[in-house]
Symmetry: none
Subunit: 137 residues, 2 copies
């Protein structure tokens, strides 16, 4: 498979694919007699994995360390640990956001119950202070 086809299949630009090779992230490539790159079909899978990893918050360097040149030489335990750590990071952030959301929803209900007798600035301060405390945890 030439680079153009791989680019179309993965939705990535050819320059990006060459860049990943330059930095040693995508090693699954050979050269034809004419100098053109030639990719095995696993390259498509590898690139999809790279894109997924990036979307999940891995840097290219992290992915380079996690994904070996040879897919079968995969560091199983290491990869699982890294994935689990990322999931935990996300769960922590989700918990924080859920608390903030709950706080805001409660306060919205409170404000709806109170007419114009309370000072707006005080209300704002109270709301934001509570959010700040949650974020500081």
């Amino acid at each position: 498979m030439k680079i153009g086809e791989l680019a179309k299949r993965t939705g990535l630009s050819a320059s990006k694919i060459r860049f990943y090779e330059d930095i040693g992230l995508l090693k699954m490539v050979e050269r034809k007699a004419n100098g053109y790159r030639s990719y095995p079909k696993e390259a498509e899978v590898a690139l999809n994995l790279i894109v997924s990893g990036q979307q999940a918050g891995f840097s290219l360097d992290e992915l380079k360390a996690l994904l070996p040149a040879d897919l079968s030489g995969w560091q199983h335990a290491q990869l699982i640990d890294a994935l689990k750590q990322k999931v935990m990071d996300i769960e922590q952030l989700q918990a924080k956001l859920a608390e903030n959301k709950q706080r805001l929803t409660e306060i919205l209900t409170e404000i709806d119950a109170k007419p114009d007798d309370m000072d707006c600035a005080d209300n704002a301060k109270r709301v934001l202070t509570q959010m700040g405390l949650k974020n500081n945890k």
Copy 2:
């Protein structure tokens, strides 16, 4: 509050706080007679919001569009709108995080589903092929 104290309180560097001001992200700042920056305590809250938003994948430009310039200047109706907006923002963050988490969890599930009689190389190929198919959609 001077910039050094705000930096300590938020755990951010002073240069980062100045940078956020430069790009128009943190507008809650005044100047003392000596030229020193002076922050209201709400600035700490605002910075915590910025950090949270960034952790959830928002760019500084997105946050700039999302966060109000002056927290204490909110009026009653505006406050309610802003809070409701913030809840929606949080829901957006949650959706983004859930997507990332889902991606990772799928990968972990695939690895866990490994049959005992399958060796590492085959398993790696199977998992990665599966991911490739999912990502192609």
